[in-house]
Amino acid sequence: MTEEIDAGLVAEEIAEAGALAGPDGTRELGRGRRRKEDAKLLTGQTTWTDNITLPGMLHLAILRSPMAHARVTGVDVSAALERPGVIAAFSGADLADSWGSLPCAWPVTADMVQPAHPPIAAEEVRHVGDAVAVVVARDRYAAADALEAIDVDYEPLPPVLDMEAALQDGAPLVHSDAGTNRCYLWPLETGDYAAAREAAEVVVRRRFVHQRLIPNAMEPRAVVVAPIAAADEYTLYSSTQVPHILRVMLAIVTGIPEQKIRVIAPDVGGGFGSKLDVYAEEVIALVVAKRIGRPVKWTESRSEGYQATIHGRDVIQDVEIAAMRDGTLRGLKVDLFADMGAYLQLVTPGIPVLGAFMYPGIYKMDAYKLDITGVFTTKTPTDAYRGAGRPEATFAIERIMDELAVELGRDPIDLRRQNWIKHEEFPYTTAGGLTYDSGNYDAATGKATALFDYDGLRREQAERRDRKDPVQLGIGVSTYTEMCGLAPSRVLGSLSYGAGGWEAAGVRMLPTGRVEVVTGTSPHGQGHATAWSQIAADALGVPFEDVEVIHGDTDSSPKGMDTYGSRSLVIGGIAVHLACGKVIDKARRVAAHLLEAAEQDLEFAKGTFTVKGSPEATKTIQEVALATFAAHNLPEGMEPTLDSEAVLDPDNFSYPHGTHLCAVEVDTETGGTRIRSYVAVDDVGKVINPLIVEGQVHGGLAQGIGQALFEEAVYDEDGNLTTGTMVDYLVPSAADLPEFVTDRTETPATSNPLGVKGVGEAGTIAATPAVVNAIVDALRPYGVTEVPMPCTPERVWRTLQEQGGLR
C-alpha cells in the first residue's frame, strides 16, 4: 500500500521540496505518515488515567446534589465511616480550609461577577451534580456504597433555568450576594452601526438558539494522586488537556508550592474542550491525598460526568443584518445571551468573547455591533466545547446570509461571493477588527460546488418543488472562516485573559543521533507524536523513526500552554520547527570546526553539512551530535550541546477557511431528515500530514452535524438534567452519519514559516449552519424560516405545522 494518500497538491509540494528533503529524498512535510500513536492504542497497551494502580491506592466517590438549588443545612458523614472498607469521609465544611475557590482565568470585564466556587459546596448547592461530600474507600464499589450512608439536609431554593427570565427584576438569584444573575455585559462596536442601518435598504432579523451540548469525550475524566507525605510532594495524573495550566492552578487553589506538584496527563481519550479546565475533583483528590497520605483515584461514571463536566454552547442570538437591495452588506448587529451555568469554570465567560470577532465572517461591511450578556443559571457550568464561541458566530452569519439571500431573491452563494473578501485583498482587516493574513474563498467555493454538483442539485430541488414531492431537497451553504491558534499573548492580555498564548518546544540531539522533541502541547488524539516527528525529521534531515516526542508531564516537558483552540500545530509545531533551526545553527558551528571550513561555506541538506565546492567534505548531523557529546574537539568557548529550545509567541491568529455544502432530504410527512451528500473543501494552509488533517475534518463534521440534528442537554422545570445518560443524549453513531466528501485548497498562512493553519475545530464550526441551512432551504416552499436545533424529526414536523401552515 502507498505511504502517501491521494492529494494532488501535496504531491506537487513534495516534488518541489528537494532542498529540505529527508534522508531518503522524500520530504516529510505533507506525507501521510501512519501514526506512531496507534500501536499501543490498537493493542490495549494504553495508559489511561483509570488504568493506573498504585500500591495502597484508595478510591474516591463523590456525593452530588440531587437538587438544582438548595441551602445545605447539614452534612453527616459519620454513618459512612462505619461502612466496611471506608477510610475517610469529608463534607465541604471539613475541607473548606484546605482550598480556595476553583479558578476562572478570564474576567472579561472589570466588573464581572465572579462568585466563589468551592470544590465541595459547604453552604449552598447551585446545580444538580454540585459536590457535597467525598468518601475514601478500599475499592470503587465500597466507595459508591458508602455514599448512601451520608445524610444531607437541604432547604430548597428556587431553580433559575431561563436566561431571559433570570435577567428580569425580582428573579430568584443563583448567587444571592451578587444581587443579580447578570455575570457581565461585554460590548463591542466597530464603525457606526446606527448609520449603517440607516443607510441600508433591507434589514433582516432572526433569533437563533444554540442548545446546550455535552462534549462526550469517550474517556471519562479521572484523577490519580500519589503523595509523598513526608516531603509534601505530589504527583497528580489527570485526564486533562492542560497539565501545565493545571499545575499552576492547583498550586494557587491549594497553597501547595508549585514546585512540589508534578502533573502528568498520561494517555488522554479525547477532550473537545471539556478537559481544558481545572475541576473540583482534581482539587479534591489532591487535598484528600495530602490529608490521608495515601494514593487516591477518582473516576467519573458517564452519567456523573454529564452533571460534573462542563457543557457547551447554550447561547441565544438576536441577529440583525443590514444591506442594500443590490446585496451589498452595510452592517451587522448581534445581541447575545450566554448561559454561564452556576459557576465560572476556567474560561467560561471568555467563550462568547472568543466568538465575538468572528460574526462578520468572511464578509466586508461598514459596521458591526455586538453585546454579550453572560447569565448565571442553576445548571452545570458551560465552558469550551470544540469551536468555543466561533461555531456560534459562524452559525449566526451563515444562517442570516441565507435569510438575506431569500429576502433579496438571490442565490446564497452568489450573495456571499458579492460580499466576501477577494483573494487579492489580503491581508484584510475586518469589521470584527481582525487582520486575516490569507485566504482564497473563490478557490474553495469553486472546488466545493464542482464536487457537490451544485447546479444539478438545484435543478433536482426545483423539480421536487414543482411536483410537490413529499420528500423535499434542501441545499445548505457554509462559507466559514475562524480564528484559531490561540495566541498572541498581547491580544489575549488586551481581552483580560489571565495567561499568555505562547508555546514551547525543545529539541535534544542524543549521542546516537536520535532526537527527542519536547513539546508543551498536550495531545489527546490529535497525533502530535507523529506530526511533530515529521516536522523535526524534515528540518533536521533525520529519519522519521529516529524522533521521539515527549509531552504531557510537567517534569519532562516543563514549559507549555497545552492543547486547545486549534493552537497546537500553528504555535507548538512551529516552535518545534524553530528549535530545530537553532540545533542546526549550533551543529553548523561544530561541523565547520571539524571540517576546518567557514560556517558560511557549509550547506545543510538532507541531514548533512557539505563544504561548498568540496562534495567529499561532509559531516552528517548524527556525526556532529556524537562529536558534540564527546566534546573532544569543539570550537573555542562553545558549550558541548546542540540541544535547543524555542518559545513562540506569534503576532497573529490563524485563519483557516472553507466552503461546506450539504444536501438534505426532508420528509415533510414525518419530519425525518437524511443527509444525502456533504462536501467539505477546507483551506488549512500547508499540511504536515494529510491523513491526520482529513481525520480532524471528519470528526469535526460529526460534532457539528451532531449539534444540528441530534444533541441536546435538556433540563426539566425543577432543574434536573433529564438527558442524564447516554441513553437520553444522542451521541451520533456510524448509522446516524453519512460519508463525507473532503478536499482541500492550500493558501499558505503568512503568519508562520511553514504556512500552516489550525484544523481541529474547522469542521465543527462549518458544519452546523450548512446542515440547518439545508433543512430550512428544503422547507422554504412551506414558508419555514427557521428550524430550532437539534432538527429532530419531531422538531421539523412541528415547525412545518406551526410555520408552514400544514395544520
Binding site: Y141, F544, G695, L701, V731, A734, G763
Partner: protein, 169 residues
Amino acid sequence: MARVSIKVDGVTYEDEVEPRRLLVHHLRDGLGRVGTPVGCDTSNCGACTVLVDGESVKSCSVLAVQADGAEITTIQGLADGEWHPVQKAFREHHGLQCGYCTPGMVLAAVDLLRNNPDPTAEEVRHGLEGNLCRCTGYVNIVRAVLAAAAELRGEAAKPGAFSEAGGAS
C-alpha cells in the same frame, strides 16, 4: 462471593468475586487486564466490548459470574503473533484518533466480519451502531473495516504489503 473460572486471552483465572461485580471490573480491577476501557454506565458506548466465546459482548452489561467457564478475548489478546487484519486496517486507514473507543470498536468489527464477511458500507455502519466514537466521524472506521474484510477474504492483502504493520516505526 462466588467462584469463577474464566479464560482471558489464553490464560485461565480462578477467583472469588462478588456476585454483583461487572465483568469489565473483574477484567480491569481483578485481573489487571486494563486494555478494555469503560466509556459509559448504560451499555450505550461499546468501549468495553470483548469477545465472549467468539461473540462480541459489552463487558459492562455482563456480570463476572455470568462469564464463568467462558473464553474471553480482549484487545490485548487479539493479535496472534501478528496483528489481526482489523487492527492493521485501523492503523492504515486512520480509523482511530484518541483510541479510547478503539478496543471495543475493533472487537465489534471482528465479530461483525465473522457474521458477514463481505459487508457493504451501510451494513458496517449499522453493524457498529452500538459502538460510539467521538473523534473520527466514522468515515475512516468504515474504510478500515471494509479493507479488513477484503483482506480476510483473501482479496487484497498480501503478507508484507502492510509495511508498518508491526508498529515498528
